[in-house]
Amino acid sequence: MSSYDAPIKEIGETYLLPEGTTANDVTETIAGVTENPAPRGWWLLFLLSLSVLGAMGAALAYLFYQGVGVWGNNAPIYWAWDITNFVWWIGIGHAGTLISAILFLFRQKWRTSINRFAEAMTVFAVLCAGLFPAIHTGRPWFDYYLFPIPNQMDMWPNFKSPLMWDVFAVSTYLTISVIFWYVGLIPDFATLRDRSKNMLRKRTYGFFALGWRSAHRHWQHYERAYLIFAGISTPLVLSVHSVVSFDFATSILPGWHTTIFPPYFVAGAVFSGFALVMTLMLICRTVFKLQNIVTIKHLDLMNKFMLGTGLLVGYAYAMEFFIAWYSANPYEQWVFLHNRLGWGILDENGNWGPLWWAYYAMIFCNAVVPQIFWFKRARTSVPIMFIASILINIGMWFERFVIIVTSTYRDFLPSSWGMFHPTLIDILTYLGTFGLFFTLFLLFVRWIPMIAIAEVKGTLPGAHPDLHAIETHDEEPDAAAAPVPAE
């Protein structure tokens, strides 16, 4: 049984936790966060997030009063910040599932320190993402049209539309992520229940713990169920961003009509998701003093992931240009040379492709910045990785903006060209989703164990019995002495 609690190769043949850590230490450290008074840093961040959430509430109230016209979207840019934000947030969520499911299937035990955290991030990010298309439909009270509900008009959704696939992919993703997250939480809720001093906490955590009594006959099925969730989440997460990319790739618009989109989107999603996990993890491990559980070796590994996915994304950028040239399609080449790089003929104001800066910002943040992680010193330096992770998040937002807006604003006919300017409501709605995300996230770290207690305990040295040793030396006196009736 030694393979389960053996030193972990990926973090330098060490144990997940420093030697000498006991199961009780793990419980105290992680459950303690939910029991002790909140640090001042938590309150500051929480009040800040709540204010930003309030700003979003105001922006949305105004939007519902006036209509979606208060956003800057207009012909020919029907999709702008809203869909950019949608794709960006969905992408953020992907790292959570990658860490919790794919690394689980690959038996990467170091993931145990960060998976709960990343799963929570997935759930909240998908919630933020879902907000945008729901509002962008224009009349959100008719959003139920998206689901095949029998109705008096005999009107059904068009299942050949990638937008319908998206509805199913995103809602399935949210549902499965919530279930996966909750199933992982059941034993930890039981831990909190058993430690609770007052009745309200005991009842609340007890309710969610479902009466879990740590029984091995339960663990046996539980572990298999967990494996199945990991197994179905893995293709699911790959499918979700592929389906999101189909929204673009199945259209005939130059810049969108590209077969590389599904893998390109998935790589970008994992890339940006890891960057946000990194940003949040760096803050939380400092505020809640979890440096012993999330060690610099974990951060080093995550930086390697960012380097790897960053290279994939950089490859995709290059390949798009190659295909634009190779296709000999003048419209495709126009999008890449003029709309993105800014080269070509002057427009009516004497400007060259006016949104060129978004493309260069994207290249700098996504293809250049992660190269710093080739150096071990950068991979193990907290300030450097913090700044890099924020830059990568900005870059990934620009990637979606570049794809969506710079493809649509100047397409086939110069007479139908337009320009996009975000409005105040655009900005407030986008910033407001940070308020929503961080408010939920801060409530999560405060009230729910942010590290998987039970899973971490299973990695402690000596956590699993050595059956051979027991069988060989324990046969003798006790078994004979046991007064067991022979039936």
Binding site: K160, T172, A482
Partner: protein, 192 residues
């Protein structure tokens, strides 16, 4: 200890180390008990063998419902977008021709077939799990023990329930004592 309104529910033995627990589990297994369990704060590998458990079969439920989800998706999309069949008068199908594709074009239905398959598989796994392990159940007599709180922290327990055919107040106690538990207690429940 025991009065008229109470009856024995289970024996609870506490152990400090995984090896002590597994050794005791083997003895209880060999003594032929059926209605008993080990309680550990984390899934402990090797206990399946030490307890003599059969492999779990929850995967069958997940697979069956996953396939059902795929079939449901095919039916739903063909019925709503391709057939003119009117089942039970709820929303007759309306052949929808978009982009010159045949109404029942199969390739465009693959993504939703996959998503619904995953969705139903996920639900089936969750509810199948809860059904197999018979949770939620908040009122188990084992929670009567004050020491059992440590089962979700750092201690290991074996419980032998009174409804086991081999359960006997003295013999079961003797068996558990022979495994050198750190603590042994009889838990009673109220007779309804």
């Amino acid at each position: 200890m025991a009065n008229e309104t109470k009856k024995p529910a289970l024996y609870l033995a506490e152990y400090d180390t995984p090896n002590a627990l597994a050794g005791a589990a083997m003895k209880v297994r060999d003594a032929g008990y059926q209605s008993w369990d080990c309680h550990t704060p984390y899934p402990m590998h090797g206990l399946d063998e030490a307890m003599g458990l059969k492999p779990t079969r929850i995967g069958i439920i997940s697979f069956a419902f996953g396939m059902f989800g795929v079939a449901l998706a095919v039916f739903m999309m063909q019925y709503t977008n391709a057939w003119t069949l009117d089942l039970a008068n709820i929303g007759a199908g309306y052949p929808l021709v978009v982009g010159g594709k045949p109404p029942g074009a199969f390739p465009s239905m693959v993504p939703i077939m996959f998503e619904l398959g995953v969705l139903l598989c996920g639900f089936a796994t969750l509810f199948g799990l809860l059904g197999i392990i018979k949770l939620p159940r908040h009122n188990h007599p084992i929670f009567e023990s004050d020491r059992f709180d440590a089962a979700s922290d750092d201690k290991f327990f074996i419980s032998i329930e009174a409804d086991d055919q081999k359960f006997d107040l003295d013999r079961t106690k003797a068996l558990l004592e022979s495994t050198n538990p750190a603590y042994l207690e009889l838990i009673e429940e109220e007779v309804l």
